[in-house]
């Protein structure tokens, strides 16, 4: 090979390699495994056995640990997000969805099957309060001051507010059939109404649904982009992701994403990683041009997380 040609190849290789590769975690709830994907090669580099049914995951407030909730296995895995090493395991009753309060003091865990919401001390994960609530507590959100935890109750069409000072239910408001994902946005709660075709905008002060954002059948979860400029909602029946302006709550774009898009995570390059619940795949959507790529993972993939890692 001539020198100029070799030099050209080296230059191409250097500039073609992205500066960052990300480690993507996908929780395969149907076969109790965790897929680890390299975002550059798009290869599944490891498949870690879980116990029974991992669904959701969250980072600790200090970002040191990744908590993975295995509902059927009654365990939380405390992992090093950088390398997926299990640091310890904590026995917890049927953890389905989980979220830390923004002040970092509490971890709230919803148990979909046992109709209970647990409040744990974030420092040592000791159980502070167990609440028996309505049918199917599903997803959790907080207000920025950590005064209330809001839990969707799938089986009773409602959102329940839990006062974090008293650790008791404060109120409950009906939002529509089978509410699922929930997020706080500018003083309002946006709730995916899975049995209908919209996100409900709930005012927690008046406890009234003020308006609906039509997104498609099976509205499910909603996530703000890292810079807060866009909200992305999923529709599992019509299989689409909707971009929403967080100020006006108007839909700005719709992406067709076949396979039942569910949970979302964002990588530093601005791409959306989305679990495709019914087709054993995870999707990578570039919201700038709508390009969609998919990678095969395990059965019924659910929670997804992106850990930026320094690459080659």
């Amino acid at each position: 090979m001539s020198f100029p040609r070799a030099l050209l190849l080296v230059m191409l290789a250097l500039f073609a390699s992205p500066a960052w590769a990300n480690l993507i975690y996908v929780l395969n709830s149907g076969d109790a495994t965790i897929s680890l994907i390299d975002s550059v090669t798009r290869a599944e580099i490891r498949r870690i056995p879980a116990l029974r049914e991992p669904h959701h995951l969250t980072l600790t407030p200090d970002g040191r640990d990744l908590l993975i909730a295995d509902s059927g296995g009654n365990e939380l895995y405390v992992m090093d997000p950088a390398n997926a090493e299990v640091r310890r395991r904590v026995r917890v009753s049927n953890p389905y969805h989980l979220a830390y309060s923004p002040d970092g003091k509490y971890l709230v865990v919803a148990s979909l099957r046992r109709d209970q919401v647990d409040i744990y001390d974030a420092r040592d994960l000791s159980l502070l309060q167990r609440l028996r609530v309505g049918d199917k507590p599903s997803h959790i959100a907080f207000d920025p001051e950590s005064r209330f935890a809001y839990v969707t109750l799938q089986g009773v069409r409602s959102v329940m507010a839990i006062d974090m000072a008293t650790r008791q239910p404060a109120w409950q408001a009906e939002v529509g059939r089978e509410p699922a994902g929930i997020t706080w946005n500018r003083g309002r709660l946006l709730v995916g109404v899975m049995g209908e075709s919209h996100f409900a905008v709930l005012n927690p002060e008046t406890r009234q649904v003020e308006r609906q954002i039509p997104t498609g059948r099976g509205a499910h979860t909603i996530f703000p982009s890292p810079d807060g400029s866009v909200l992305y909602g999923t529709s599992r029946v019509d299989s689409r992701i909707i971009a929403i302006n967080p100020e006006t709550l108007e839909i700005t774009r719709s992406y067709e994403v076949p396979g039942g898009p569910d949970c979302i995570a964002f990588d530093p390059e601005g791409r959306i990683w989305v679990s495709l619940r019914w087709v054993q795949r995870v999707g990578i959507l570039d919201p700038r041009n709508g390009d969609l790529e998919t990678i095969r993972v395990g059965r019924s993939p659910h929670g997804v997380f992106v850990q930026p890692v320094r690459g080659e």
């Binding site: 056995p49 029974r52 009654n74 148990s111 109709d115 028996r132 099976g218 029946v237 019924s300």
Partner: protein
């Protein structure tokens, strides 16, 4: 190639669910059950595949080397109904619909006591990194539980009244595996559920292994003149081994060979018969004709009647 098969299977299930079942759930206002019914669909399709695999493997063997030949195979057709109801998931679906609330209440009540159900892997941590080995341990423990359930089915008169539906078949084939009274199935589910609560059960995560286990159980009921040899007979329940259990002289409490998958339990507890020459006729000598040759519904009614007689001491 295996990856290709799994990939095609996943795509098929995905298509079936997104194009058919999920829009139907949405229209019926049942999206609450989206996850559960996806799992059920997986179970049902795999059950169907299991039936096909059992048929492909067992039927030629039955045709080539049968223990018995029959002119009229109507009783066998009834067993096919049992199999479809059981394996394609009609019964599990029904049980889910009827018992889902009760299960949630029970689990919540247990959780409130502070009890968090263990798993075998949490008791034996090295198993965490070897899921297939863990599964093998589960299979052994569960099979041990099944052995004793089976013993009790024959030991208690009221339970035998129900279980005799399974034994009444005089034309035993690979379809007979699922021939059980509904109440007997409920009791089996409760027994299994209690054991599952004690050790945790990951079986649903290993559909291929389940397929093999179900195939082994179908084989043990098959109308085949076949033993697995002096060593094999002691490792896995064979058609010969299980036929002896279904023999006329083995009905009720005088049984032998209760093992479902592993004969080792019979060996350990003194109920094994490894005589490889014996292929007795099957059935329940004192059972009414309808129990053997009646329709599915007729057999269910007779099972309940026999249960009532056993409980009131008139049986």
């Amino acid at each position: 190639m295996i990856d290709g098969i799994f990939s095609a299977y996943g795509d098929f299930i995905g298509w079936l669910y997104t194009a058919g079942l999920q829009p139907m759930l949405y229209a019926l206002g049942m999206m609450d059950y989206a996850d559960d019914l996806y799992r059920w669909l997986d179970f049902a399709v795999f059950g169907l595949i299991g039936i096909i695999v059992s048929w492909v493997v067992c039927r030629p063997l039955e045709a080539a080397n049968p223990v018995e030949r029959w002119e009229n195979r109507d009783p066998v057709h009834t067993d096919i109904i049992y199999t479809v109801l059981s394996r394609v998931g009609v019964f599990p679906l029904l049980a889910f619909v009827l018992l889902n609330g009760a299960q949630s209440w029970l689990e919540g009540t247990i959780a409130n006591t502070g009890f968090v159900a263990p798993t075998l892997e949490s008791l034996v941590p090295p198993l965490r990194d070897h899921p297939l080995l863990a599964l093998a341990c589960y299979v052994v423990i569960l099979d041990f539980g099944e052995y004793w359930r089976h013993r009790f089915q024959h030991r208690f008169g009221w339970w035998w009244a129900l279980h005799s539906v399974h034994h009444a078949q005089t034309q035993m084939t690979f379809w007979t595996d699922d021939r059980n009274h509904i109440l007997d199935d409920v009791l089996a589910a409760l027994w299994f559920g209690a054991l599952a609560l004690l050790i945790g059960v990951p079986l649903g995560q290993f559909p291929v292994i389940l397929l093999i286990l179900r195939l082994a159980e179908s084989m043990s009921h098959a109308n085949i003149r076949m033993s697995y040899g002096s060593v094999g007979e002691r490792l896995v329940v064979s058609p010969r081994f299980h036929r002896l259990h279904h023999g006329l002289l083995s009905a009720g409490q005088t049984g032998k060979n209760y093992g479902v998958l592993l004969p080792v339990w019979d060996w350990m507890f003194g109920t094994a018969d490894f005589d490889r020459r014996v292929y007795p006729p099957t059935g329940v000598p004192d059972g009414p004709e309808g129990l053997a040759t009646g329709s599915w519904f007729r057999q269910q009614v007779l099972g309940v009647r026999r249960l009532a007689q056993a409980l009131t001491g008139r049986g």
